[in-house]
């Protein structure tokens, strides 16, 4: 039994599965933006270039890993795998097959919120540990942006918890059997997508990694294996946050019950989840390609003046209309 749980955590539907989803998201992201910009995008590695992110990962890992002279070696070495661990742990609490996650606890949503905060903090540490000019500037931007989007992100994620009277992601998914929470709390879903764009450093909030302004942002000094891991982590976070949106707002694995056999139904639930995951991912692909970067002061102002009040308005509506 323990072997099954370990296999679920490390293989399917846990870490290895989500790493492949992360590669898929990277490919879809590049392909979508290429199509929108009238380019072809990845084409060579694998059919339709689908293996390009995998090829890029292994190419980077085989490159020379340069440790800058003044870098903090301990964080420089241990930072990338810890940065990777944040979304890798988070995905364990997302139900992917059936209605239960691999591991579940009555307060796992709070743990996931801490993981999201830890991820941003780890990125700031990595930027500072690199001891580069551009990465220091980027780290300041990262922290300023983080303090802007974190509050609306939390409020947006707590709203489904209030509706479900549960702080367990599995519990919130189960509570959506009647109606998906995107219907009851559409503003929270929008706020979550906006905040997720900032957490993922995607346009229009790619300010901490703005290539045309500060080279590679906080990743400037990283090369080889650490850079490969950081890029993979960003794509894994992409898949993780999309999966979180699916679970909290789109009913997770829930859908029409077509089979009496639980195994067949579990397979169908997985398909429902996969379709919803790609749909949320696609929203982010399109938005990030369509919008141009804003300045850091504009981003912080947007989050404090517009997005946070929007999330509070939705919370107030929920409290007045739906609180039981």
């Amino acid at each position: 039994m323990i072997a099954v749980e370990v296999a679920e955590i490390l293989l399917f539907p846990g870490l290895t599965f989500f790493v492949w989803i992360a590669f898929l998201f990277d490919w879809l992201d590049r392909k979508t933006s290429a199509r929108m910009q009238e380019r072809v995008g990845p084409l060579v590695a694998g059919p339709w270039g689908i293996l390009q992110p995998v090829a890029d990962f292994f190419k980077l890992t085989s490159k020379e890993e340069i440790v800058p002279e003044f870098a903090d070696r301990f964080i420089f070495f241990l930072g990338p795998p810890l940065f990777f661990a944040a979304p890798a742990i988070g995905i364990m609490f997302i139900p992917v097959v059936g209605t239960a996650a691999i591991v579940s606890n009555q307060y796992d949503l709070l743990f996931v919120l801490f993981i999201i905060a830890f991820s941003a903090l780890m990125a700031a540490f990595l930027g500072y540990a690199a001891a580069g000019r551009w990465s220091t500037i980027a780290m300041g931007r990262l922290i300023a942006q983080y303090t802007g989007y974190e509050i609306p992100l939390i409020i947006a994620l707590i709203t489904p918890a209030i509706l479900a009277h549960s702080l367990s992601i599995t519990g919130i998914v189960a509570a959506q059997r009647g109606i998906w929470y995107i219907v009851l709390a559409p503003l929270s879903f929008i706020v979550f997508i906006i905040s997720a764009l900032a957490e993922l450093e995607k346009p229009p909030f790619d300010i901490p990694s703005a290539k045309t302004e500060i080279v590679g942002g906080w990743m400037t000094e990283f090369s080889g294996r650490p850079l490969a891991y950081i890029k993979l982590t960003k794509n894994l976070s992409y898949a993780f946050l999309s999966a979180l949106a699916v679970s909290l707002f789109l009913g997770g694995t829930l859908g029409p019950v077509l089979f009496a056999d639980p195994t067949l139904q579990a397979g169908l639930d997985f398909i429902y989840f996969a379709v919803k995951l790609l749909a949320v991912g696609f929203i982010i692909f399109v938005v990030r390609t369509a919008l141009a970067r804003v300045r850091i002061d504009q981003a912080v102002r947007l989050f404090w003046m517009v997005v946070t009040p929007l999330s509070l308005v939705q919370l107030a509506i929920i409290m007045v209309l739906w609180w039981k």
């Binding site: 890992t61 340069i66 440790v67 002279e69 000019r133 551009w134 220091t136 300023a144 509050i151 609180w323």
Partner: protein, 115 residues
Amino acid sequence: MTTLDPFVIAGPILVVVADIIVYVAVGKLGTKSSGKGGKYQPFTGGEEQIPARGTYESELFVFAALFMVVEAFALILAGSFASPTNLYPLLFLGGGGGVILVVTWWLLNVGGMRQ
């Protein structure tokens, strides 16, 4: 009171251990180098007159640390939503309001807006 699934604790540990093992193993694929000299200096982006490295802004870190403490406070209060009365949810709203009040005060005075 429900029993705690041991994998809630063991699962994250397992992931971190597997992650570090793979990271070390993947490290065998490429070479690693460190030292002194031009190659190991911070990247200049091809420019000759690059700005000096930004000064350490301690206020920003104090602000971020305070932010996380207050955030943790609000999240713990959020754990009270299982309560049958609406007293604890109101406390959460108070906590959330407190978060916004404190960070806005910091933002306006010494916080992240002053870059």
